[in-house]
Amino acid sequence: MPKHSNDRLQGTLDLLILKILDRAGPQHGYGIAQRIHQATSDSLRIEEGSLYPALQRMTHEKWLKAQWGTTDTGRKARFYTVTAAGRKQLEEEERRWITLTEAVNKALRFA
């Protein structure tokens, strides 16, 4: 599996998922989508078509751990948690994101 470190869009989704799960604790797919939605004040809507492949991939990369549980309304759902490896990945992605945005900001300011 090639590392998608250069693929910013994918990296962004990974970063968001990791950040949400790191901050909010175990979540199911719907919860993750909701939280990204809320956290970005409705400006970022995550497509389910991208969310689940990302969750599968990150689980198989061992960044996330998936466990079956029950929702508040009594439905069976898969809950995801960040692993130690996932946390490391999160730090790295965050750092990279900041570097990139700073660079882009600089470019925008001085261009």
Binding site: M1, H28, G29, Y30, E47, E48, G49, Y52, P53, A54, L55, Q56, R57, H60, E61, T71, T73, R75, K76, A77, R78
Partner: protein
């Protein structure tokens, strides 16, 4: 993510899919809940949720694809489709799988033999350092191949050779085992205690011999083979310490060797400790030696050190003068003789595989053409060349693997047959089995063949427009496609011709070998060996009395025409050999002495064997009874020792070393000359020089071997000539011998015909294997030619229709088709003949009495092959001639 994880996910894809389905269902339900909470109706909520969420099946697929090896999924699908397609054309599938199975099976079984016998190291510790002690006498033009040595030489090497870690010598023979149960004649090897340490082996139970047990005067000890332990002692572990009687000598069993210990051969039942010291060592060439090279020592330095040590020894003991060491790796010594035969057989079956591949490629071509329309549609729908390649490769892969599996089954059967019917002369045959390496070989062959014929249709993937055009109207297919078929057909003919020529050469050699005049009459005669235990028969007089009694009883059996005995039956046993002195002729130091094989015989031996008397008279009853100092020689003796002279009346004697402490043997008068008989092989270039002496003047238990008077008569081969079929007399013969001494056992009970068969067995074995390869190649070749010609006719049907409609004679149409076939057949045959001529040197070592370029064989087999090819062409040609013009034109 690791590729292995992705492959693993392919296998558990169904489970992953099920989990995702549940997960997505929940997600959808949660969106629905949300929509309802926002005040939508039940229906509206569901519809909106669906709209927002998208198609769950697509999400599932994309999610799974992101973590699985999609190429494998595709490949499995492709293989599944291919399997279904093949299932729908059972005739094609069956023909292909059987053809491949046959060829792969033949290759696998022969490879199993080659792998075990030639490639696998000997089953001994660090066997690459083991050498066989072989000698040559350059001054007598014997460059190498003397695999006997003396006890003196053994002690010389064991004490002084620095290049050798350890030396061991052994001989093989037979003893009568008595004690528990029936007396039994068993095969023994007398070996120095160093034998098993040299080989770095250890017993299954008990121990091997100690150094002290190899010194004269030590109590007799023996080690059982696994086979004898099972057969006679039912694997009783308490056999250790028990006594057995070997030729009347009480011997203690100290160990049992494991089943895979088969040194010097698989037929040895028991090893006994040979006892010898340097002081009493004999100068007779009676033992065979092996040694282990010291680490870092080369064969060349070991040879030169041994040669120097022999020269030192020869100063004291002149009969070892001129001997040089030609030691060679033990593996070469054991399998060297059969290596070339096995490689040639392997090459033959490899050619069969090529013929089979050509056939299957042809079948594939037909199939790929029938599939043009389907392929064209695939390509029109956007399948690339790779996609079409997968289509054909998947089929060929399935077929080859199925062929490999069938081949493994056939190879299993074939290897059982090979082990059961292989000649004794093929060493290590008992080790042959189908192991992982052999099965892997079959599988690799399968995949390689898949590559071979699977790519052929690929080369034929026409440009899109052409294939659509062709698919639209079957008609005149491209010219180069039929050229490819003709190439395959010509190749098959060439390959088949090589094999047919080889088997023709082998067949003629075998005929020549069997046509060799053995110098005796092999029909209707029984032979067996009897050894008289020295403990009970302690003197020559006692031995002779026993033989006389046995001969008397045997001749009284109804249906027995003549009975006699010899110490040295043709083609069977090791014989007593020594040079002879001629009375009144000075010993010529500059000429290497001729080795003469000594036979000690009972009265009437020449008559009982049906040998021809050339001059003088034979040895009769009076000669034996009175111990007359006479001798009968064979023609080779007369020609070699008395060239151009009449030997009858001349006197000769066995020569002895000048410093011998024994009385010189008596002078013996030559009274007759008889026909030559083969010594060890029917294919001998020069017949062995032999003499026959009355058994009453030869060696015996009370006569030291070093007196060199002649062979010891305690072990003799009997010849019983019968008027009834010889095998019917076996029971009566056994009873007659038991009436003389119930403890005597018979060894090697056979007819003289079987003795001759045995001598030709190795060549028969090779010949049969090559002939089978040739027959299979020929059969496959005929099928291939027939297929190609039929195809050509079907392809030219409309053209033939036009010709016939325009008034062409049916005969000329047939001729036209035949001509097309014969151009290919003749070209193929010419290439085959050229290849066979070029390669004939390779098979020369297997042949006897015939040139590897024998014109008769080449002409005969070429005519045979072309006749068969013509017949295979004729049927399609006749079909073409019988076409009705109307129908032919109507054909699409």
């Amino acid at each position: 993510m690791s590729p292995i994880g992705r492959i693993w996910n392919v296998i558990r894809r169904r489970r992953l899919d099920e989990e995702l389905r549940q997960e997505l269902d929940t997600h959808l339900a949660l969106i629905e809940e949300e929509e309802r909470a926002n005040g939508r109706s039940e229906d509206g909520a569901r519809r909106h949720a669906r709209l927002r969420f998208g198609a769950p099946s697509v999400h599932r697929e994309r999610s799974l694809d992101s973590v699985t090896a999609t190429w494998l999924v595709d490949a499995m699908k492709e293989v599944g489709f291919a399997a279904r397609r093949l299932w729908r054309s059972p005739a094609f599938t069956l023909a292909t799988v059987l053809t491949l199975g046959l060829a792969i099976g033949a290759n696998t079984s022969i490879f199993a033999v080659v792998h075990r016998v030639l490639l696998n190291p000997l089953p001994y510790g660090d066997s690459s350092r083991l050498i066989a002690l072989d000698y040559g006498v350059p001054i007598a033009n014997v460059s190498s191949g003397i695999n006997f040595m003396t006890w003196q030489l053994y002690h010389q090497l064991a004490d002084h050779a620095r290049t050798l870690e350890r030396v061991a010598v052994y001989d093989t023979g037979e003893v009568t085992l008595t004690g528990v149960g029936e007396p039994e004649r068993i095969r023994v090897s007398h070996a120095t205690p160093s034998l098993v340490p040299v080989l770095r082996m250890s017993p299954e139970i008990g121990r091997w011999f100690t150094e002290q047990e190899g010194v004269p005067g030590a109590p007799a000890v023996a080690v059982l083979s696994h086979g004898l332990w099972v057969r006679r002692y039912a694997k009783d572990p308490h056999v250790l310490g028990r006594s057995v009687i070997l030729d009347g000598v009480s011997t203690t069993i100290v160990g049992v060797m494991p089943a895979d210990f088969t040194f010097p051969n698989a037929r040895i039942d028991l090893w006994s400790a040979a006892q010898s010291t340097r002081a009493t060592a004999s100068f007779l060439f009676v033992v065979t030696g092996i040694a282990r090279l010291r680490d870092g020592v080369t064969m060349a330095s070991a040879r030169s050190e041994m040669t120097a040590l022999i020269a030192d020894l020869a100063r004291v003991s002149p009969n070892q003068t001129g001997l040089v060491s030609t030691a060679l790796p033990l593996q070469d010594a054991i399998v060297g003789r059969v290596a070339s035969a096995l490689w040639i057989v392997l090459a033959s079956v490899a050619l069969v595989l090529l013929v089979a591949c050509a056939n299957v490629a042809n079948l594939f071509l037909v199939r790929s053409e029938a599939r043009q329309r389907e392929v064209a549609v695939r390509r029109a729908l956007g399948a690339g060349r790779m996609g079409v390649a997968r289509y054909f490769l998947a089929e060929s892969l399935i077929l080859s693997i199925a062929g490999a599996v069938v081949g493994m089954g056939l190879a299993w059967v074939a290897s059982q047959l090979l082990v059961a019917f292989g000649p004794n002369s093929l060493p290590r045959l008992e080790e042959v089995r189908l192991d992982a390496a052999v099965l892997a070989f079959a599988l690799v062959l399968g995949v390689l063949t898949a590559g071979c014929f699977g790519v052929i249709p690929l080369a034929r993937i026409a440009p899109l427009h052409a294939s659509l055009h062709e698919a639209g109207r079957g008609g005149s297919a491209s010219r180069d496609r039929s050229r490819l078929r003709q190439l395959l057909m010509g190749g098959q003919i060439a390959l088949a011709l090589i094999l047919v020529v080889s088997s023709g050469l082998m067949l003629r050699s075998f005929q020549k070998l069997r046509a060799v005049d053995p110098g005796f009459n092999a029909a209707s005669a029984l032979t067996f060996r009897i050894g008289l235990p020295n403990r009970e028969y302690q003197s020559r007089r006692a031995v002779l009395a026993a033989h006389d009694a046995i001969l008397g009883r045997l001749s009284a059996i109804p249906g027995v025409a003549a009975v006699s005995a010899t110490t040295c039956l043709p083609l069977q046993t090791r014989c007593f050999g020594n040079s002879v002195l001629v009375e009144g002729r000075a010993f010529d130091r500059n000429r290497a002495p001729t080795v003469t094989w000594f036979n000690a015989v009972a009265p009437g031996y020449v008559e009982a064997m049906g040998m021809r008397l050339v001059r003088g008279r034979t040895i009769n009853r009076t000669d034996v009874e009175l111990g007359q100092p006479i001798v009968v020689v064979n023609k080779a003796f007369a020609d070699t020792i008395f060239p151009g002279q009449d030997p009858v009346g001349k006197r000769i004697r066995s020569s002895t070393p000048p410093n011998s402490r024994f009385k010189a043997p008596d002078w013996l008068e030559i009274v007759g000359v008889v026909s030559n008989t083969p010594g060890t092989s029917l294919a001998e270039r020069t017949p062995g020089v032999q003499l026959y002496m009355p058994m009453s003047i030869a060696g015996g238990p009370d006569i030291p071997a070093q007196a060199l008077v002649g062979p010891s008569v305690d072990m003799m081969s009997y010849v019983v000539r019968t008027v009834t079929p010889p095998s019917q007399s076996v029971a009566l013969v056994r009873a007659a011998i038991a009436s003389v001494d119930p403890h005597l056992a018979l060894a090697d009970v056979r007819t003289l015909d079987e003795v001759l068969d045995g001598a030709a067995a190795q060549m028969a074995f090779t010949m049969v294997l090559i002939a089978i390869a040739a027959i299979v190649a020929l059969a496959l070749g005929i099928v291939g030619i027939y297929g190609v010609m039929s195809y050509i006719v079907s392809q030219r049907t409309s053209e033939i229709g036009v010709r016939l409609a325009l008034g062409a004679e049916p005969r000329s149409v047939a001729t036209m088709i035949l001509r097309q076939g014969s151009v290919v057949a003749f070209t193929g045959a010419a290439v085959g003949v050229a290849a066979a001529l070029a390669g004939s040197r390779l098979i020369a070592s297997l042949l006897y009495g015939i040139s590897p370029r024998d014109p008769a064989v080449f002409a005969g087999t070429t005519v045979l092959l072309l006749t068969v090819a013509a017949a295979a062409c004729w049927l399609p040609a006749r079909r073409a001639a019988r076409l009705s013009p109307l129908e032919a034109l109507r054909t699409d």
